[in-house]
Symmetry: C2
Subunit: 187 residues, 2 copies
C-alpha cells in the first residue's frame, strides 16, 4: 500500500495512539487503512457415497482438484457465500448441513470455512474457474492431484468421520502455518 | 474508495471480465481493489457460574457491556485473535474451549466468532477500550445495558445451554440482518 484510497496522498507506516501495530496512515487526511484476513467459504458436497470435486481452470494450481470455495463478499452471510461459490464454480445446487472445517491459513491471511453439504441431484458442470466437476468415491479421490492442504484435510476428515458409528462430523478447527502447508501456494 | 492504493490514480467501478460484481478498478495500473467482510473474534469467559463482561470505553455503545472481542489481525489464527483481544480488552488470561457462536452481521460486513472459554483465575481489569471488567452471575446480567445483539445472543444461548443435562454447547450459527439487530449500530 502506497497511497490513501480516500484522498490519494502518500501513506506511511505509523503506530496509531492506543494501538500496538504499525498501520498504513494517510499523512494528509489522517485515515488509517487497516488490513485484515479474508474469508474463503465453500462446500464439501456429498451425493450418496461420493463427493463432488472441481478441477481448477485458474491459477494457482491450475488443473488440480479442489472443493468449490471462494472469497466471501460484502452483503452476504457465510452460508450464502458457500452456496454461491458452489453454484458459480461447480454449477451445483446443494443443501448445507453444518460447518465442518474452519482453517486459519496464517501465512496468507485467510480463514477458510467449509460446510458439509448434500447434493440431492447429480447435476454439476464447468465454469470460468472450473475445467470440470466430477463425483468421486473414496477410493477414486486423486490425493496426489489435490490443489490445497485445506482440501486434503477436509476430505481426510470426512472419510474418517463417516466411518464412526454413528457417523459424526464435529467441527474441525485448524491453524495452518507454512511448514504444515505443503500444497497451498503462498501468493 | 476514490484512489488506487498502489499507484494513487483514480479508481472507477467496473465489472471485471468473468466477474458479476462491480469492483473498484484503477484506470492507470489496472489493479482491482476487492472489499470483503472482516472477522471479529472474541471470548465468552466463564469463571465458576459467572461470566466476564467488559464495559466499553469507546464508541459505539460507550458505557455498555460487551464480551471481549475485536478485529482479527493479519498473521494470526482466529483462536490467537480471540485470546489476544481478551487479554488486551479485559486483561484476562483464558483457556479456549470451543467455537460457540458464528454470526454473519450482514449489514456491517462482519463475521463474529465467539469462543467459549475458561477463566481459571478471577483476574481481569480495565484498558484503553474497557472502563471496567466484572464477573456476572446469570441473574446479574445487565440485559438492558448490553452493547450488541451478538453479545445478547451469546449470553442467552450460554445460560440456556448450560441448563441442559448434560450441559451441551453446540456451535450457534447466526445471520443477522438490520431488522433482527436492534442493538448493534450500523457504522
Ligand atoms: Zn488520505
Ligand atoms: Zn493503480
Amino acid at each position: 500500500m502506497n497511497y490513501c484510497s480516500h484522498c490519494g496522498s502518500a501513506v506511511t507506516l505509523r503506530l496509531p495512539e492506543g494501538d500496538n501495530r504499525l498501520r498504513y496512515t494517510c499523512q494528509q487526511c489522517g485515515r488509517i487503512h487497516y488490513q485484515n484476513p479474508r474469508i474463503v467459504a465453500g462446500c464439501l458436497p456429498v451425493h450418496g457415497d461420493r463427493v463432488l470435486l472441481c478441477r481448477r481452470a485458474i491459477e494457482p494450481r491450475y488443473g488440480y482438484w479442489t472443493l468449490p470455495a471462494g472469497y466471501m463478499e460484502n452483503g452476504e452471510s457465510t452460508e450464502e457465500a458457500a452456496l454461491r461459490e458452489t453454484l458459480e464454480e461447480a454449477r451445483a445446487k446443494v443443501e448445507l448441513r453444518q460447518l465442518y472445517t474452519l482453517t486459519s491459513i496464517i501465512h496468507v491471511n485467510q480463514v477458510q470455512l467449509i460446510y458439509l453439504a448434500n447434493l440431492p441431484h447429480a447435476e454439476f458442470g464447468s465454469s470460468n474457474e472450473t475445467l470440470e466437476s466430477r463425483l468421486f468415491s473414496e477410493d477414486e479421490i486423486p490425493w496426489d492431484e489435490l490443489a490445497f492442504t485445506t482440501i486434503r484435510n477436509a476430505l481426510q476428515y470426512y472419510f474418517a468421520d463417516r466411518k464412526a458409528s454413528p457417523p459424526a462430523f464435529p467441527l474441525r478447527h485448524i491453524a495452518l502455518s507454512p511448514d504444515q502447508d505443503d500444497l497451498i501456494l503462498v501468493k
